[in-house]
């Protein structure tokens, strides 16, 4: 029997990294959906991001790391190591974002420019993204040598910001001993909330998602907003893919990440398209996901599986509640999933 405290700390430590994968994906998808694009290709987008992340990490390890190495087991803070660390961060983030955005570009081009059906495009993108990752990642890391480099980069990316371990205690440690990407994740969620709800750009974005004909008549370039929101959203979702690579220290196959992608689509509904609720939601989903491994005694394997499906059950409950409440503020954007063509009669 594991002590209750230990279980809780296990859950916190396990849930936060997982939550960040969800959060990146969720915030990205919320941004996309606020423009009226329902990108069901999110699992694929995250796979694209993971490919970008792997590529960025490997490139860094083969170039800059050779010049400015960082000791993984006992990092020392010097000018060179900090510079090297920042380079890795930039490499990983930029590559993941660009790859995510490329998949977003595919989606936008098909749906916004060519007016293809969004659901079908999204599902195609999911399949394509998974296959693309499973095909390309082994090409980038063909041998054990590269895989080791990737694992090393992942370990470096897991470094937390420096803090006094002794001062915060075991509870504080479980919260604070997290990658800087976790901080970035929370920051992006908050920034996204402010932009969507408090700025002029956000107002225009929401209007495009609610009623593009109206937005268009008001002089807003609907295509630009849909492209922009989808590209930025997919770039952010791509970071989720990167963080997945960091979390498992490399790459196995796309199946788990795709599973996370579907979970994120449920999470968007759970969060009723609000990035702040997405923070809470991602932590809840993360906790529910890791709890089977945390030492909670479940007598049977079925018990663990039951715990794993709770996020979906929670999503269904949220859908039921929001549908019953029926307030317009908790409903999806009005034209979600519908393409807009001005001269349509």
């Amino acid at each position: 029997m594991v002590a209750f405290n230990d279980i809780l700390i296990n859950i916190i430590q396990g849930a936060i990294p997982l939550a960040i994968i969800f959060l990146f994906g969720c915030v990205g998808e919320i941004l996309t959906e606020k423009s009226g694009n329902l990108n069901l290709g999110l699992p694929g987008v995250m796979c694209f991001g993971a490919v970008g992340g792997v590529l960025g990490c490997v490139l860094y390890m083969k170039t800059i790391y050779q010049l400015w190495p960082i000791d993984v087991s006992e990092p020392v803070i010097t000018f060179v190591t900090v510079l090297s660390y920042i380079c890795l961060l930039l490499f990983a983030i930029i590559f993941a974002c660009v790859f995510g955005a490329i998949s977003g570009l595919i989606f936008s081009f098909l749906t916004t420019t060519l007016k293809a059906n969004q659901n079908i495009t999204g599902l195609a993108l999911t399949t394509f993204g998974g296959g693309f990752a499973d095909f390309v990642v082994p090409l980038i890391t063909p041998k054990e040598e590269e895989k080791a480099l990737l694992a090393k980069a992942a370990k470096i990316l897991k470094f937390s910001l420096p803090y006094d371990r002794t001062a915060v205690g075991i509870w504080g440690d479980s919260f604070l001993n997290q990658s800087i990407l976790v901080v970035i994740g929370f920051a992006i969620a908050i920034v996204a909330f402010v932009i969507i709800n408090k700025t002029r750009v956000g107002l225009s974005l929401r209007s495009v998602g609610e009623n593009p004909a109206t937005a268009d008549a008001a002089g807003i370039n609907t295509n630009a907003y849909r492209y922009g929101a989808t590209l930025i959203g997919c770039a952010i979702a791509g970071l989720g893919g990167l963080f997945y690579v960091v979390k498992i220290n490399g790459w196995e196959n796309s199946a788990t990440l795709q599973g996370f992608g579907w979970m994120v689509l449920a999470l968007v509904i759970f969060a009723v398209w609000n990035p702040l609720i997405a923070i809470v939601g991602s932590l809840v989903f993360g906790a529910l996901w890791v709890s089977p491994q945390s030492g909670i005694s479940t007598n049977t394997a079925a018990g663990k599986d039951l715990l794993k499906i709770t996020p979906y059950v929670v999503t269904v409950v949220v859908l039921v509640i929001t549908s019953i409440v029926g307030k317009k503020s908790v409903l999806p954007p009005g034209s979600l999933g519908i393409n807009y063509f001005r001269e349509e009669r």
Partner: protein
Amino acid sequence: MKKETQKQISIRFENVSKFFGPVKANENISFDIYQGEILSLLGENGSGKTTLMNMLSGIYFPDEGKIYINGEHVTIASPKDAFDLKIGMVHQHFKLIDVFTCLENIVLGIEDKEKANKSKARKIVKEICDKYGFEINLNKKVYDLSVSEKQTLEIIKVLYREANILILDEPTAVLTPVEIKRLFAVLNNMRKDGKTIIIITHKLNEVMEISDRVAILRKGQYIDTVLTSKTNESQLTEMMVGKKTVLNIDRSEPKDVEDRLIVNGLTYVNGEGIKVLDDVNFTAKSGEILGIAGIAGSGQRELLEAIAGLNPKAKGDIVFFRPKKNLPVSFYHKTYREVVKLASEGKFHYDNGSPVSFEGMRPFQIKSLVNNGDVLFNENEVMNLREKSPLQIRELGVRLSFVPEDRLGMGLVGNMDLIDNMMLRSYRKGKGTLLNRKNPENLAGAIVNELEVVTPNLHTPVRKLSGGNVQKVLVGREIASAPKVLMAAYPVRGLDINSSYLIYNLLDKQKREGTAVIFVGEDLDVLLALCDRILVMCEGQVSGIVDARTTTKEEVGLLMTSKKEAEGGK
């Protein structure tokens, strides 16, 4: 009114054309609009009024021709360009975002940072409201607004962008008379302010009341512009429809009148506990048109739906007399066993009038007699349609057609083409697994030809047709099944004069063919001219049934507002 020559030209169209596929929505349109006038753009449905104005507001881009604003040749490629030229349009279907507040809707899309600032916007909007006499609560969400408030918001939105040219698409269609008066007062204020106002409409009395000049379009072509003060309604109608429309509806005398449908004690309490139908009794007879008059929402819709089997909770009897008298018995709706049973009850007779008795006959003899058509019914068949679904009603062989008020919601499927919409009525016919598309295709073709439906082809989704054409398709389909009872709710709503008359004539033709027609209308003149009897409803009750040939508008109007007084008439 000032003299024309003193006025500056605000907008000039020069040979403007717009095509949607093979349909010429606008063709070679050239005319001028002066500054500081109210111009009515008059035309029938589908004459291209809205299309022309949409080109001015940047929704559509002209295929040919030039547009000049204040003497300068301009290219209006998007709504934003239109705003920059100070052109604002209030669309017929409001372009507002439901989940935003009024204020958010006003500042939406404005690029000027000063003007997009909400607190500053609040101040400017207040000034506009004071100037023109609007009232609006800026913090209300749009979904809480009434239709007239939404329109006010739309106008404020346009004025907030400092528009000098204001286009209003059918602004009075959704307003009450009081609200129309208020709107016209506002428009007059704006005219005094030197703004150019264009009103798209097909209501002649409003044209005469508000506008300085009238520009007339017909079938995408520009006809003429006339001074309102120097014209009259009949001249405008003539220009609008091209030929003098006979304003008399042909009404044939009813013949072979017999009871077709008896509604007895029909009562319906809706989900909110309101008695929408209260003990409705009437008889619809074959070969006549029964009009139903009443203030909107007096239960007309529920009544028709109850008869059509769409209101299973309605109580009361709906008795249908299936015309069978002296018609041959068939095995189509009756099983062999039923036929034998009915014969033993003495319900049939032979051609020569002698009663039928199958006693002592063998089944094959009976079958051949029936199949030869030698066995005839004595009387009409009586069946109660209460608590029957539309499908059950059809399976009973009751030919009941219903042209609902909500054409694209209940009548047709907008995204499906003409042929598929025909199949909604006939998809259960035929034996094979695969659908037979040949007959529906022929039917659709026949309807397009006979009713002059304007459509690029039979494979066009009906959603893309104009309102009148949609209605023609729907009525055409319902009539094609040779109904014994034809119910039509507001069949001419939103239709132009020519299309309306076409529908009236179709209804009259059905009547002549022996159908019992039930026509729900709102225009009393039409009801008096078209129907044989008029049933007047008031708050769910039948307040009277009157003879349409002898009654007066006043009498019907009185019945519409008075609950249960006279149960007279025929």
